[in-house]
Amino acid sequence: MPVQVRNWFVGALGVAALALLPLGIRGEYSLTILCTLFLYVTTSQSWNILGGYAGQVNVGQAAFFGIGALTTRLLWLNGMPFPLAIVAGGFSSVLLAVIVGFPALRLRGHYFAIGTLALAWIGHITIGNLLPGISFLTGRYVATYSLVLRYYVFLVIMIAALVTIYLVVNSRIGLGMEATRDDEDAAQTAGVNIVKYKVIAFTISSFFVGLAGGGFAFFYASYYWYLPFGLMWCFEPILITFIGGVGTFIGPIIGAVCYVALKEIFALTLGEINILIFGIVFILTILFFPRGIIGLPAALRHLKSQKVSGGAGESIGPR
C-alpha cells in the first residue's frame, strides 16, 4: 500500500535525522528538551494504544511509569548494566499490569478510569511513605554521565515504541482493538474477543511506559523517589494525545511537540503564576479541540445533525 510505504519512508528519514542530530547539536539545553520530547511521545503513544485505540481510558499511567523508574533505578544503582535495568523496568510495569491492570479491565466505562487513577494515587502515597527521600547518583555514575548517551537511549525507546505500535494498530489486532473501543457488545456478538484485545493493548502500553520510566531513572542525576509516581505523569500523556488527536497514530507526536514547546515558553516567561495560566490553557485546549487538532474539520461537520443521540456513529442505546 502506497500510504504505508510512504509512512515508513518518512519515518526512516525522521529516524536518520534524529540519529545524526547530536553530531551537529550538542548543547545541553537542546538535547535535554529533545529527550523530554521523546519521553513524552513514548508515554503518550503508549497511552494512546490503550486509551485511543482500545478505548480503555487509563488515568493511572503514573503507577506504571513510576514502577518502571523504581525498578530500573534500584537495579542500575546496584550494578546491573543500564540496558538490562531499563528493560527490567519495562517488565516490572507489565507485571503491575498483570496483577492489577487486567482485573481492572473488567470494569466498564468510568470505573476503569477511576480505578486506575486511584491506583496511581495510592502508589504515589505508598512510595512517598516508604521512600520519602531523594535518590542520588553516586561517584562513578556521575563521572561517566553522558547526555548524548541518554539522548540515544530515549530515541531508541521512542522508536521501538512507535514501530511496535504502528505495526500493531495497522494489523488485525488493531482492528480488534478499535472494534472493542467502538462498541463492546457489538464486537462480542461479531465474535471479537474483547478481553484479548484489551489485554494486548494494556501489555504493550505498560511495557513501553515502563521502559520510559526506566529512561527517566537513567536520565536524572537526582530526584525524589516518588516523583515518577506523580499525578502529572497520568495527565500529561492524555492531554498530549488529546491535543494531537486521540486514536490517531500521529496525534501523540504532534501533541508532544506542541506541548513541550508551550510548556517551555510558559516556564520561561511567566514565573510564579505559570501553572495557573497553564491550567487555563489546558482547559481552553480541551474546550476548543475536543477531538484534537486532527479532528477539527470532522468535528465541526458532526455538530450539525446531532441533537441528543450522542457522538459520531454511536448506536442508540443507554449511556
Binding site: 445533525s305 441528543v308 443521540s309 456513529g313 442508540i316 443507554p318
Partner: protein, 236 residues
Amino acid sequence: MLELSGLDIYHGDLQALWGVSLTVRDREITTLIGSNGAGKSTTLMAITGLLRPSKGSILFDGTRIDKLAAHKIVELGISMVPEGRRLFPEMSVRQNLEIGAFIGKARRAKYETMDWIYEIFPILKARAEQQASTLSGGEQQMLAIGRALMSQPKLLLVDELSLGLAPVVVEKISDVLKEINKSRGIGIFLVEQNVQMALELADIGYIIENGRIVGQGEAEALLESEEVKEAYLGIA
C-alpha cells in the same frame, strides 16, 4: 394529526432517511413496515425529538415539533415505547409506571391512569413491586407500553413491538393496543418488521425501504397486494 414532510436525517455522516413523508391520522392505527435497517427507528427518533432532521418538517396538530426539545414533545402528547423495551432496570414495575407520569398533567391523574394500566395488564399489578429487570420479555413489553401510556398521550409510538417475543404474546399485546385505540381514541403509530401482524392491526400502512417510502395505502389492501406478499410475506 402527525405530518412528516420531506424528512432527510443523518446519523453522523450517513444519511438514513431521504425525503420521508407520511401522515398519521387522528384516532387511527398507522404502521410503518420495512426490513431491518430500513430507517424505521430513525423516523421515530426524529418524531420524539431525539434526532433532528437536516431537512423537512414534522407537524403535530399544526405545531412544528422537529426543532423542539424531546421533553416538550412529550408534553404535547406524543409518547414512545422504545425498541427493546428500555425499562429503567433498577426501578420496580410501579416506579417505572410512576416515572412515566412525570409531566405535569399526567402527574395529577397518576393513580387513575395506573389503575387503568393494571386493568388492561393485570400481570403488572401482580408484579408491581418487582424489579423491572426481572420480568419476562412479554411482561417487560407490557410495562413499557403501560409506562408510555402514563403520560396520557394522544399519539402512542411503538418501536418494534414483536422483537424477541413469542407470537402468542405478540397477539395478546396487539389486541390490547387495538382496544385502547378504540376505547380511548389514542392514535397509534407502529413501526414493525413483522408485516403480517402490523397490517392486521393497522388501518393505514406505509412501506419504507432503504430510507425511502416506497408504498402506502389501507392496511387491508396492502396485505392483499402482490408486491407486499412477495417481498415481505414470502408468498410467491
